[in-house]
């Protein structure tokens, strides 16, 4: 069950009965769920204000099933990655639902058997363990990195959470790959551009500007990300000794949604191919555009391509059939 060291997850609880809501919330805290209580009429607002959730708890009252099911569908449409846990008054209530309605939920429980809820939460939210040392280390490194780039501020870390949300917070985020011997993925830092601009304009950062541009904002976020990435890579994600160190260098990628802007840290031209896909049915006249871009931001040696082309021309294509199983 819950331990004081285990990281929490935030769950939105939609219950109109205040006693049940309170009791459920108390139970949640024993299974490391941080409850966010909301009545059914203000769920959308609660959703908008919480972008780092682990799931939803929803109640299906027997006299308002259609309304609750419609709400479940709406939640699923808005946040498809979040698991929905359904509370029912009795088991048969769930089994009487149509299959497509049952499929909205990862499972159901009753107030009489909350251990079932605990098991569902374990299965659908706490199904990956993050070592406490890793969490604490990343937090401390990040606090140091932020503090080194900002003046006259207090930097505090919030309680860490496990989230299923893939919603981007704010307008600006940086992303840098993490390539370790035991894990691979991306570190992302997401923020609000206008708030960071205010910090820069009020001289709280190393960028000296009273009228910061979005590139100034990008510079701060990029450097913070870089500092964090370097340190956590050094501490926790050491690479295989067989890897060429030249292949380990990276720079953060900056994405600014308000500007629809993505930066790979350099000013080279990128290769872009556009594809148009058109329906052959003249009556439908459907048309789709796909734009393809290749960005070689870390290394580009076109003088090596001749050898590759020659090797391809000499390759025995009979032995290279796609879809075949190769066994070593």
């Amino acid at each position: 069950m819950a331990t004081s060291n285990q990281v929490m997850s935030k769950v939105l609880i939609s219950e109109d009965d205040t006693d049940i809501r309170r009791n459920l919330s108390l139970f949640c805290e024993t299974i490391n769920i941080s409850p966010i209580r909301a009545s059914s009429d203000c769920l959308v607002t609660a959703l908008r204000n919480n972008l780092d959730l682990g799931g939803f708890f929803l109640y299906l009252p027997s006299n308002q099933a259609a309304t609750s099911l419609a709400l479940a569908q709406e939640l699923k449409d808005l946040r498809p990655d979040l698991p929905l846990f359904l509370r029912v008054d009795n088991n048969s209530q769930y089994y009487e639902l149509a299959k497509d309605k049952q499929a909205l939920f990862v499972g159901f429980y009753t107030l009489e058997d909350l251990s079932k809820l605990a098991k569902l939460v374990e299965q659908f939210i706490f199904n990956r363990q993050y070592p406490n040392g890793l969490i604490a280390g990343i937090k401390n490194i990040t606090l140091d990195a932020i503090s080194s780039q900002f003046y006259n501020v207090e930097v505090v870390a919030d309680q860490p959470y496990l989230i299923k949300d893939n919603i981007i917070f704010g307008h600006l985020f940086s992303m840098v790959p993490i390539e370790g011997s035991w894990c691979r993925g991306y570190l992302m830092m997401q923020t609000e551009q206008d708030k960071l601009e205010d910090m820069i304009a009020s001289q709280h950062t190393k960028v000296k500007s009273f009228r910061p541009s979005f590139k100034d904002v990008n510079a701060i976020l990029s450097e913070v990300t870089n500092l964090i990435w370097g340190k956590i890579k050094s501490n926790y994600f050491s690479s295989s000794p067989n890897l060429n160190t030249a292949e380990l260098t990276q720079v953060p990628i900056i994405i600014d949604h308000s500007q629809k802007y993505i930066s790979f840290g350099e000013n080279q031209v990128h290769l872009c191919l556009n594809y148009r896909i058109t329906s052959t049915d003249e009556e439908l006249a459907n048309e789709l555009f796909i734009s393809q871009k290749l960005v070689f931001n870390m290394k580009y040696s076109p003088e090596m391509f001749d050898d590759i082309e020659r090797a391809l021309a000499n390759k025995d294509i009979d032995n290279d059939i796609n879809g075949e199983l190769e066994i070593f």
Partner: protein, 121 residues
Amino acid sequence: MAQILIVDDSITVRNEVHDFLAEHGFEVDIAIDGEDGLNKLSADPQIKLIICDVNMPNMDGLTMAENIRNEQNNNDVIIVMLTTENNPMMKQRGKEAGVKGWIVKPFNGNAVIGAIKKWIL
């Protein structure tokens, strides 16, 4: 003509290091990546010290260092890495490329100014 060249893709780092060294009386130039750094060094042989990041687009700092020693045959300029990297393999590669020093970010000018003055003056 500069005495020190700062090579880093981060504008905040370039500005910070540049301003610190300029306040201490040094002539400082900047470059935005390894390729730019090579061009700046070729154009200004007076540069005595390069302070350089590792992780940069177009050309990383270690490749730049290797280029300076092997392609430009310049074994005089002092190269110091200023980087988030603390990887022993990278440091070894730096040593083999004739890198003289390795600073893990964030930059603390007061900790390195003594050595810089010895190298330059």
